[in-house]
């Protein structure tokens, strides 16, 4: 199993949520103290370095116009990590390809990071959560189709080495595609796509790409992974190895159960701070109009809300115990966390990658580092015994 330290790089020092309508899109950036933001970046980058020093991998993502995530340009941060880490693999999960105008530029950015890191980059592609369409002015119509065409163009750009090719697709046109430099890894860096529901898994399996899912819990994740495995069966392809599957959870490991749970409570900021108004949560076209209609008729969503990635509703009001039970949070002592992950591993039919959301909100640097180290030193060895045993049978 591979483990990835992940941090959304929030700017958590915000006014009372009662004073703003939405933490995304409209919260004025005058709220930011640039000096404090720079200090936060120093420590977040240092935490990724600690993960590398402990033998873990690192993962970054990208969001726009939001205090929940200051990584507004993930390739910039991934490029830094390429130089300040040594052994870690670097997963960018992911490039919001449906919201970017020029896939060839993304192909170039990824090739460059892959080269600078000497082949340590793994490239994720995402359609982008719904708030992003307002922040990037991206049309919320046919985004999945746009995402797949962009991925096809990017992978063609990575793998064409005999001079320019022509691309005249439905969404993107480019007459002379010939990226310099090309990726370090051949034929391409490993490719990841996120799936929130099982209906997204099929197309990912068709391409033999890695599938990642966020905060879906035991059941949601099992269904997404099973749909991927079913699709391979349908195609008559061999079964997928564990390394094709990844899951992101909130994870904090303490010396004791209580220390671990105390850390996890800090991480719940991530679930409870996503206050967004309905127009940004339900842009027309992002979901079928009947789904949007039902949502608009439902209870008002402009209170503190959970991240849109998870299929589990009402996470904001759940207790830590409920969230642990559901498999959204792994927390406690090393033995407890290892047991929780082992249970998860068995329930979802195996997975080879765990994305550890190990910092959120106001959790300080020292506490974050303690959690990372404790996991690397005391949970990883326990899990290696389990997963090796499983894969040997």
């Amino acid at each position: 199993m591979q483990y990835w330290h992940f941090n959304e790089a929030a700017y958590p020092d915000l006014p009372d949520p009662e004073t703003y309508d939405s933490i995304r899109v409209t919260l004025p950036n005058g709220t930011i103290d640039p000096g404090h933001a720079a200090d936060l970046w120093d420590r977040y980058i240092r935490e990724w370095q600690v993960a590398d020093e402990c033998g873990l991998n690192v993962m970054v993502n990208e969001h726009h116009s939001t205090a929940t995530c200051m990584t507004s340009a993930a390739p910039v941060v991934a490029g830094i990590l390429a130089r300040v880490t040594t052994n870690a693999r670097i997963l960018l999960l992911g490039n919001p390809v449906a919201n970017r105008q020029d896939p060839v530029r993304i192909a170039e950015e990824m090739a460059l990071i892959d080269l600078i890191s000497r082949g340590r980059l793994e490239v994720g592609f995402v359609r982008g959560v719904q708030y992003e369409v307002s922040a990037t002015n991206s049309q919320p119509i046919r985004m999945t189709e746009r995402m797949w065409e962009a991925i096809d163009l990017i992978t063609t750009a990575w793998t064409t080495h005999d001079g320019p090719f022509n691309w005249e697709g439905e969404f993107f046109q480019h007459r002379q595609v010939n990226i310099w430099p090309r990726p370090y890894q051949q034929p391409t860096p490993p490719i990841w796509i996120t799936a929130g529901t099982p209906s997204s898994s099929g197309a990912i399996a068709d391409h033999d790409y890695h599938v990642a899912t966020f905060l879906g819990g035991l059941e949601g994740t099992r269904k997404v992974f099973q749909a991927y495995r079913d699709r391979l069966d349908e195609l008559g392809k061999p079964g997928a190895s564990d390394d094709k599957f990844g899951y992101a959870a909130l994870v904090y490991t303490g010396q004791t159960d209580e220390e671990g749970r105390e850390g996890a409570r800090e991480l719940l900021w991530y679930l409870q701070s996503n206050k967004v108004t309905k127009p940004f949560t339900y842009p027309p076209g992002y979901m079928p109009y009947q789904v949007r209609s039902a949502a608009l008729r439902g209870p008002n969503a402009s209170s503190s809300g959970a991240p849109a990635l998870s299929p589990i509703p009402d996470m904001t009001s759940m207790s830590l115990d409920d969230l642990i039970e559901l498999g959204v949070v792994f927390a406690g002592s090393p033995a407890t966390v290892a047991a929780q992950i082992e249970r998860f591993y068995s329930h979802v039919g195996g997975l080879g990658n765990l994305f550890l959301m190990g910092q959120a909100g106001h959790m300080g640097h020292e506490q974050t580092v303690r959690g990372i180290r404790r996991f690397a030193e005391d949970v990883v060895p326990r899990l290696e015994r389990v997963t090796e045993k499983v894969s040997a049978t």
Binding site: S134, N137, I141, P279, P283, Y289, V291, S293, A294, R297
Partner: protein, 265 residues
Amino acid sequence: MQTLDLIGAEDGIEFGYGVRLDARLEGSSGPLALVLPGSERSSEDAVFIEALAAHFTVVAPSHPGFGLSPRPEWCASVSDIADIYLDWLEASGHTDVILIGLQFGGWVALEMATRSRSRIAQLVLVDSFGVKLGSPTDRNFADVFATPHDQLENLIYADQAFALGELGGAPENTVLEMARNDEALAIYGWEPYLYNRRLGQTIDRIAVPTLVVWGAEDGIASPDYGRRLAAHLPHARFEQIEQAGHRPQVERPHRVAELILTAAR
């Protein structure tokens, strides 16, 4: 999950390029009044259309993607919609047409009128979208996709008696139609937002009499914007309607119809 029952292959009216649309036909005498709606629900225009039907032969389609009209995938721009209606006007042989564009439909009407004016006798624009005026940082039209529903209805209607109010208490089909219309508006008008830059250069060739009608309390596109738009049209007259917001044909249907009748005489 409930969806709207869109018109089938045999229903509605065949407009240009074989595209069938849900449409209201009212009145059987007088010249053709082609009413191009905005993103209001089609029932909201009923009184206005009846008022027009006393004097005109009224045809009021729901554009592709709006209301109960299917949208062929190739129809993805306002120019495409304009072509569908122009093709139909050509084939049906109507002349002296009163072309009435309401809000989004005003944009469609402008696209038609810049392409072909021979069949149009009178152009009417009611709180119309379509033209970018001013500098890049000027917002001509409120961002309807960023505005919560209750605030949006305050911008649209002068009299909140016309508003749907809390959507949880609104009939399911009503909200479904609203949601489908929002989606269609996003398909045609997300970016650039509710305008075609080309129109800024071409509307000065619209040499047909034009009536520009504007709700005094329009919070989506201000009357000041309406006056500036009228000033760019060579034969335009501006009429402001009191006690009306963005959809005067809904709030003051008889007043708007009366202005159109006077202009068309």
